[in-house]
Structure formats: structure tokens, C-alpha cells
């Protein structure tokens, strides 16, 4: 067995060593470091999948058993998200091999590795303060990635992200302090076991602090003001990491804290309300956008809202649907942003007006946009169809008819603006400059499109993971027992 803690150790070692490789073998070698790192990590994650699906993997550090030392607890949910995050990281690492990253490039590669490492750390750790440390790592890396393009818009987006992100982290830290003051332990399973002892006022305060804090990374209303600007300003590979890795870690934080640690259904409804507001505001704002990148950013907010509604509904099917939707969001938004990155490198603008007729001029890139958009709006036979149908039907089955209607309203708005995008891509004639697609960037987006199609035909590939993950969230006894032993 390969210990999953190696994902963290390898990422750190490689991130620290980037300048050494550059100095030993020349600057050209540096760009292969993220690729090697994510390939090793993905391998570690994949060999641990069967073990984690059987029983949560508990990895101790420094030789101390929980609750005295820090431990990682990786169940089906953790391994599913960690694999997804490393997979997105690997694809982005292939993409940046032939994409012009901002200078100094070595720093960009370090930040890329550490942002992904932070997100994987969040989904694997079993200690709530350690969760905060990884949250800090992933957010500080993302601030710098957001600012790395060094244009006015990029710095503005990064600044908004820094203000909201540090506010969010502080609130999470305050919430952790409240729980620690009451229980004297930081181990998540130990807190979950004793959560009944916490005073109600304190628990309400801590819950509100946690949900507001993690809402920043999960792109949830009202903490998502940074998303449109930071997404628009950041370089495309970084945006793919935001959508594919960091938003997933935010969702995980909310799910883990509200299901495993607090475990009280009365709070779950709050997640649904926040989710539905996020969904509608995101989709409505996307409707007005004239810039494709900005439109995708708002659409990303809408999608994360849908994930939150589904996760908050609190039945096995809705949570599984929400996680499936989160998976699709990562893959599809990754595809759209990275394809748009290829286009913008050639056209020099992501304004929809300038992309007129692009689908006819570049049929293959047009096809990739077509696949991504159809999957996003939930058309068969693409992956998005299954997650959307699972979410809507399971929410109706859970008796949340109003929410189901609101989700369908959101979906209708989504169809409206994406059809407009498709019409722009395939009407008129392309007037922009000539450009060609490099092999590696083309390969990356092709892989993502293939994932969408394959999952569309075999949704079992994903449901095989999301159902055990949903079961893990609902069965907190198993989680506590796996870490602390004994009967719960």
C-alpha cells in the first residue's frame, strides 16, 4: 500500500525543488515539474481507491494516535475528490507545457502545484485545524495565481479575492476556536463524537461562521463577489484549477462540517437556501454577459449553487447527485475554459462578438465548445444529463417541489444564454486573425471532451463513487469509528 500522505509530501518536495531542477538542467525542465508531480500523485490516489471504498483510510502523523496527533482520514468522498483534483491538475500541467504562462514561470509552476496540493489536503485531512492550514495554502496560492497575469483586471480580481478570502479564512478559524474552546480537541471525528456537549448558541455561531467562511471557496452567495473578476483576470490554466480543484474543496468543507461534524439536519436547509440563491443569481447574471470568459465564470457560480442545493437536501440520492454535478462542473468547466484559452491565445479576445463564426472556421474547437455546452445544459448523451436528471428527480422525491421548480428555472436561463453563445459561434463569418492549435493543448481538451462522452454513456463510472461518498456523509458513525475505534 502506498500511503496517501505521499500526495502531500511529493507535492511539497517538488514545489520546493523547482529552482533546483531549473539550475541543474536548465530553465526548460521546470515546466515538466508539475506534470511529474501530478502524475505521481494521481497514481498514488488511484491505487488507494479500492482500499478507501472498502473502509476509510486513517493515516497518522508523527506517530501519535488521534486525537493527540494530526491524521488524514480518507473515505470514498475524500479519495473521489482527491483523484478528481489530481486529474484536473495533471491535465492543466500538460496544457501549460505549450501554453505561455506568466513570468516568472518557475513561480507560476510552484503556485500551481501548491494550489492543487492545498485542495487535496482539504479533502483528505481528518483534523479541523489542519483543514484550516490547507485552506490557507490553497487560497494564498490562488490569490497569487489570480494576480499572475498582472493586468489591471487580474490584479483587481485578485484583490477582491484576497479581501473576501482572508475574511472567510478568519471566520473559519473563529469557528474552529469556538469548537476547540468547548471540547478541547481538534480531531474531526472526536469533535463529531462529542458535538452533543456543545452549547447551542456556540454551535449556531460556529455553523454560521463555517458556512460563511467556506462559501468563499465554494463560490456561494453572498461571498462570491470575487469569482467574476478573478476568473476573468486570471490566466486560463489557473481558472481551470479554480473551477476544477478549489471550488470542489470548498464544497467538501461545507459537506464535511455540516454532515460529519455537526450532523444536525436543521442546518442542512440553510445550505439549500444559500444554494438556490447562488444558482439563480449566478444564472441571471450570466444572461447579461457579453464576454465569454466572464459568462463562464457566472455560469460556474450557478453550477456551484446547484451542487449546494443538492447536497443540502440531505438524502442519499440528492447528495450523490450533487457530487456527480460537482464532478461534471470540474470536467466541463475545465474543457470550456481550456478550449477558450486556446482560442484567446489566437484571437486575442474573449469577447463574444470577436468569436463570431469561429465554430465554422475551426470546426474541431467548435465541436469541443458544443460538447461542453450541451453537457452543461444537461443534454443526453453527455455526462451533464445524468447529474442534472439525478438532482432534479431526487429533489422532487425528497419533497422539495419548490426547489425543483427553481432549479428548472435556473436550467432554463442557462439554456437561453448558452444557445446564444452557440448561435454566435456558428453564425456570421469569422473575421479574427489566423491561429493554430498546438498538439498538447489540443490533447488536453480532447481528453476532457472524451471524459464527458464516456461518462455520458457509462454514468456508472461516476455513480460507483458518488453513492459510497454520499453514504459516508450520511453515516457519521462509521467515520467516527474508523478514526477513534470502539463503538459509536
Amino acid at each position: 500500500m502506498v500511503s496517501p500522505i505521499l500526495i502531500i509530501a511529493v507535492s511539497l518536495f517538488m514545489a520546493f525543488s523547482v529552482p533546483i531542477w531549473g539550475m541543474l538542467f536548465g530553465k526548460k525542465v521546470e515546466k515538466f515539474v508539475p506534470l511529474v508531480t501530478f502524475a505521481i500523485n494521481l497514481y498514488i490516489a488511484i491505487v488507494n481507491i479500492p482500499i478507501a471504498l472498502q473502509h476509510p483510510i486513517v493515516v497518522i502523523t508523527a506517530g501519535f494516535k488521534p486525537p493527540f496527533g494530526i491524521n488524514l482520514t480518507i473515505g470514498p468522498l475524500g479519495i473521489f475528490l482527491a483523484t478528481l483534483i489530481q486529474f484536473m491538475g495533471l491535465l492543466v500541467a500538460i496544457y501549460v507545457l505549450s501554453y505561455k504562462v506568466p513570468e516568472p514561470s518557475e513561480k507560476f509552476y510552484m503556485l500551481l502545484i501548491l494550489a492543487v496540493m492545498g485542495a487535496s489536503g482539504i479533502v483528505m485531512t481528518g483534523d479541523i485545524f489542519n483543514l484550516f492550514v490547507f485552506l490557507e495554502i490553497t487560497s494564498i496560492a490562488s490569490y497569487s495565481l489570480a494576480a499572475s497575469a498582472k493586468t489591471g483586471g487580474s490584479v483587481e480580481g485578485a484583490f477582491k479575492y484576497i479581501v473576501l478570502g482572508s475574511l472567510g479564512s478568519t471566520l473559519v478559524l473563529l469557528g474552529i476556536a469556538l469548537l476547540y474552546a468547548q471540547l478541547g480537541t481538534l480531531n474531526m471525528a472526536d469533535i463529531a463524537r462529542q458535538i452533543g456537549k456543545v452549547d447551542t448558541t456556540v454551535l449556531v455561531a460556529a455553523s454560521l461562521l463555517f458556512i460563511t467562511g467556506f462559501a468563499v471557496e465554494a463560490e456561494a452567495f453572498p461571498m462570491n463577489g470575487w469569482v467574476p473578476d478573478a476568473y476573468t483576470g486570471a490566466p486560463f490554466p489557473a481558472v481551470a484549477i479554480f473551477a476544477g480543484a478549489i471550488a470542489k474543496a470548498g464544497i467538501y468543507g461545507i459537506a464535511r462540517i455540516f454532515y460529519t461534524i455537526i450532523g444536525a439536519p436543521s442546518y442542512w436547509h440553510l445550505i439549500m437556501i444559500i444554494g438556490v440563491l447562488t444558482l439563480l443569481i449566478g444564472e441571471l447574471s450570466a444572461l447579461l454577459q457579453k464576454d465569454f470568459k466572464r459568462l463562464l465564470a457566472y455560469s460556474s457560480i450557478g453550477q456551484m449553487g446547484l451542487v449546494l442545493v443538492a447536497i443540502g437536501a440531505g438524502t442519499l440520492d440528492t447528495i450523490a447527485g450533487g457530487l456527480f454535478q460537482a464532478f461534471n462542473h470540474a470536467i466541463t468547466k475545465g474543457l470550456l475554459f481550456l478550449t477558450l484559452g486556446i482560442v484567446v491565445a489566437g484571437v486575442g479576445s474573449s469577447n463574444l462578438q470577436d468569436l463570431e463564426g469561429l465554430g465554422k472556421k475551426k470546426p474541431y474547437l467548435g465541436l469541443l465548445f458544443f460538447i461542453g455546452i450541451l453537457s452543461l445544459i444537461g443534454m443526453p448523451p453527455f455526462a451533464g444529463f445524468w447529474s442534472k436528471i439525478l438532482v432534479v428527480f431526487s429533489i422532487i422525491k425528497a419533497n422539495y417541489i419548490v426547489y425543483a421548480v427553481l432549479i428548472l428555472v435556473g436550467a432554463a436561463i442557462e439554456v437561453a444564454y448558452y444557445v446564444r453563445v452557440l448561435r454566435t459561434l456558428y453564425s456570421g463569418s469569422y473575421r479574427g486573425p489566423e491561429f493554430s492549435t498546438s498538439f498538447l493543448t489540443g490533447l488536453t481538451v480532447t481528453v476532457l471532451a472524451l471524459v464527458i462522452i464516456v461518462v455520458g454513456f457509462y454514468p456508472k463510472l461516476v455513480t460507483h463513487f458518488v453513492y459510497p461518498a454520499a453514504k459516508e456523509l450520511l453515516g457519521r458513525g462509521t467515520y467516527i469509528q474508523a478514526v477513534l475505534g470502539g463503538k459509536f
Binding site: 500522505i5 518536495f13 520546493f16 539550475m23 493515516v59 502523523t61 508523527a62 493527540f68 494564498i140 455561531a205
Partner: protein, 230 residues
């Protein structure tokens, strides 16, 4: 105006809510389970007499590795954002040249401050301090040199290499723990006699790595900031 009043109202409500919450938490009651365990077993478990250090480096060593990374990210992020700004910033500030006294004095002080920083991180398991403060002291020696000698610089190449090697050393120590003792960052050296310089297992090793890392990181950061204002 209305916006400001609304914001003020919100802050007041949150403030009242939070203070009501914190009022529920008893102050100064020694009841934390984990904390008590550390105090009772710390010296026996690890052989370090500075219990704070033992908690920081071993019991919660994984967090400390994370904190080192956070500092690393802050420095890297700043380097990322500032790179390229120097050429754009054409306005040069006027400055008065450092006096002879300052130039002579700092040259004498420089090695001593570095020695003091090294002392702090080497004795982290015995006395207050450790890798982070030790590293900051070392960086302050470089800051003094930057202030007093205009042409003097810490070459980016060297700070970068030191930083990388120190960080890699920390991870490798953790990995040796994983393969020799059984878990990541676990102590694999003899604990020694508590109170001696050679005691507390891997704590001095880790703190030395952190001291080098923090020192070179902050020096690099100061160098970055200095270049943009000159």
C-alpha cells in the same frame, strides 16, 4: 451614507452575537483533554523540555509543515506579482546616503546577528524561540545591510537555492520518519537526556531546516521589495 449606516449596523449585530457566544465559554478553566495530555506526556514522549516546541514540531508537526508552506507561498506570490514591476516603475526616489558610522557598524553587527539567529533556532527545543524567529533574526541582519550598503545585495540565486534545499530537507526528514519509524514526520532519532543540546530527536534538525528556509525566504522577499523602490 445609508450604505455606511447599514454596514455599521451589521458589524454591531455580529459583534453582539459573537460576544454573547464567547460569554458562554469559560475562561482559564484547565479542561482541554488534548492540551493536558501534551503537558503530562510531552517530555517523556519526545525528550524536549520546551513543550511549545514539541507541540509545534512533533505533535502538530504536519500543521507546521503547512505553515512553512504558507510563508513560502506568501513570498513566492509576492515575487510573482512584483516581478516585472521594477522596469515599469520609472520614478526613482531620492535618498540620503548612509553615514560612515552606520556602514562600519552594520559590517560588525552582521555576523553577530546571524550567529544569534542560528543560536535561536538551534536551541529551539530548550529555550523560547525556534526556526521561525531565528529565521526572522537572520533576515533582519540582511535588512540592515540593505539599508546601509546600497550596492550590497543577496544574490537571488543563493537565497533561492538555500530556500529550496531547506524545504526539501524538511520533507525528506518527514519521509525518513515515514519509512523508518512508521509515520510521516515521526521522530526516528534517540531522545537523549532532556535539557541537553543533543536531545529531543528530530526537533533541532527540523528547526534548523526551518531557520534556513525562513531566513532565506524573508531575505529574498526584502530583496524583491527593495528593488522596486530604488
Amino acid at each position: 451614507m445609508i450604505k455606511k449606516a447599514f454596514a455599521l449596523l451589521l458589524v454591531i449585530i455580529i459583534g453582539i452575537f459573537l460576544s454573547a457566544t464567547f460569554a458562554k465559554i469559560p475562561f482559564g478553566v484547565p479542561k482541554t483533554v488534548v492540551g493536558k495530555y501534551y503537558l503530562d506526556h510531552g517530555v517523556n514522549d519526545l525528550g524536549g523540555v520546551n513543550i511549545v516546541t514539541s507541540i509545534v514540531v512533533l505533535y502538530r508537526g504536519f500543521d507546521t509543515l503547512g505553515e512553512v508552506t504558507v510563508l513560502f507561498l506568501a513570498a513566492t506570490g509576492l515575487g510573482m506579482v512584483l516581478a516585472g514591476l521594477r522596469e515599469k516603475d520609472e520614478k526613482k526616489r531620492k535618498k540620503t546616503a548612509p553615514s560612515l558610522i552606520m556602514r562600519t557598524e552594520t559590517k560588525l553587527l552582521f555576523p553577530m546577528i546571524i550567529l544569534f539567529g542560528a543560536y535561536i533556532f538551534i536551541h529551539g527545543h530548550l529555550t523560547p524561540g525556534g526556526g521561525f524567529p531565528g529565521g526572522v533574526v537572520i533576515a533582519s541582519a540582511f535588512l540592515l545591510m540593505f539599508l546601509s550598503h546600497e550596492k550590497w545585495e543577496a544574490k537571488e540565486k543563493y537565497t533561492k537555492i538555500t530556500e529550496a534545499l531547506a524545504g526539501m530537507t524538511y520533507v525528506v526528514i518527514g519521509l525518513i520518519g515515514l519509512y523508518v519509524a512508521g509515520s510521516f514526520l515521526e521522530n526516528f532519532l534517540p531522545k537523549g537526556v532532556p535539557g541537553n543540546l543533543f536531545s529531543a530527536g528530530i526537533i533541532p534538525l527540523i528547526y534548523t531546516a526551518i531557520g534556513f528556509k525562513v531566513g532565506s525566504e524573508l531575505t529574498g522577499l526584502l530583496q524583491n521589495l527593495r528593488e522596486t523602490t530604488e
